[in-house]
Amino acid sequence: MLLVELFTQGLVQGSIYALIALGLTLVYGLLRILHVAHAAFFTLGAYVGILVCNASGSLILGFAAAMAIAGCAGVITYRLAYQPLLDKPPFVALIASIGLYIASEEAFRVFFGAQGISFVDPPLQQQLLLFGTIRLKMAELLVMIGSLAIIFVLSRLQNGTRLGLACQATVSDPQMAESFGISLRLVRDLNFFVGSALAAFAGVWVALLNNLVEPTMGSVPSYKALAIIVLGGLGSVRGTLAAALVLGVVEAYGTIYLGKLLDRNAIAFAFLILVLMVRPQGLFSRR
């Protein structure tokens, strides 16, 4: 029973990872940039979500505002920060991204205080009993369903709509995509919008789960999401989802059974290195 419960908890954590890593993977697929500052949109989303929810009393509004604002911020970041660096070696964008992340983390602290903020009346805290003894918070259940649903919808959109097709074509061969009338600018903006909005979505969920939003909350996701997209085989949406869930579960078991040997981060990265040594192209990459 414990094993099942740990598995469930691993999935909850994994679905949050998936939401964050998905945006990162979209950006990587398109631009080959390791977008560390992505985690800033996660934090931004959490702040906006709490502030709007506290002010309006509506969680839905909080989600909407968080996603909209983070999405726009993502597009602006792309235009100002990355677009001019696209033809430079990848580590240039990486360092720019790191600088941006440090600055944003500090900006959150300066604006919202170092101690973090909480919901005045945290929603979705009631708990549910599932399958006998497994107990989940409403918020935990919803984040699992929510993230799986959103990823499912996203991959349907990607495969079933003309816009999604345009995105995939751009990932596959930007020049040719352009030659068939696809505006690279539109596709890239859209990807940054969607990716950042997803990170913000994850941010609000984490705010709900912890009832706490701090300036530093993005630091763990900032690098762990990188590990996930590498595990997932860089640029693959389904691979990222699978890698995130696997990592969540590995961590869940690891913290309990390997906790004395290694800490959570080290377990995650030990797993990553192990996988890469066996499969240098990542866990779920076709190539």
Partner: protein, 234 residues
């Protein structure tokens, strides 16, 4: 319909093509010939907008499209089946066609698709397969079919016969002749000189980025010097 007015193009300090002038007409096939690295592909990619135009003008029906953004050129009626085919490999054949026709309403897709499948019936059986899994010949057909989905008035095809079996080459060239009969302008880059000479209406031979010979294909076929000096021994 398309006029290259002494164009030069290349990358940064490197100039791949020097002062090329060429006129393409509807219902005609123009063959762009020459050795590896002579600047044929650069010319195509320049017309498509991917290689920087350094001098000269590109006119489409008398209108200067030199500065037209890449993504708008397909709207103007120019489509390309590029070197190496460059299919969207992870996507299905059908999706590749869909992307080819992205500038047209979704409602037209089925009609357009059936039209190009009529030209290349072999693709019809392959529709759900990832494009990367096709054989070389099928990939080339798909590259052409994808370009045709845009309903172009000019189609540019790079290295049509490269690495293909003779039978498949035949198929492709038959398709090409049919396109001509439907009034398309075709700009064909080809290493297989025999083939190109056999089908083209006009020939332009490049060497190290410069035009060394232009004229009708009939003239070219009769000019033994041309064939031996610039086109290898084919």
């Amino acid at each position: 319909m398309l006029e290259l007015d002494s164009i030069s193009c290349g990358y940064d300090a490197f100039r791949a093509v020097h002062g090329l002038s060429l006129i393409l007409r509807e219902g005609e096939i123009t063959g762009l010939l020459g050795a590896n690295g002579a600047g044929k592909s650069s010319t195509l990619m320049c017309v498509a907008g991917h290689v920087a135009l350094q001098e000269g003008r590109i006119l489409l029906n008398g209108e200067d499209i030199s500065r037209l953004p890449v993504a708008r050129r397909v709207h103007a009626g120019i489509a390309i089946a590029p070197e190496g085919r460059r299919l969207f490999k992870d996507l299905s054949v059908e999706d590749n066609l869909r992307i080819g026709g992205l500038i047209h309403p979704a409602a037209d897709f089925r009609r357009d698709r059936d039209r190009v499948l009529d030209l290349f019936p072999r693709l019809a059986e392959r529709l759900p397969l990832p494009a990367g899994n096709l054989s070389g010949g099928e990939q080339q057909m798909l590259a052409i079919a994808r370009a045709l989905m845009a309903r172009p008035r000019l189609i540019m095809i790079d290295e049509l016969s490269l690495g293909l079996m003779p039978k498949v080459i035949d198929l492709c060239y038959q398709a090409l002749e049919r396109l001509r009969s439907e009034g398309l302008a075709v700009l064909l880059v080809e290493q297989n000189t025999e083939r190109a000479l056999a089908v083209a209406d006009h020939i332009c031979v490049l060497e190290s980025g410069r035009t060394v010979w232009t004229g009708s294909a009939a003239q070219a076929r009769g000019d033994a010097t041309l064939a031996s000096a610039y086109l290898g021994l084919h």
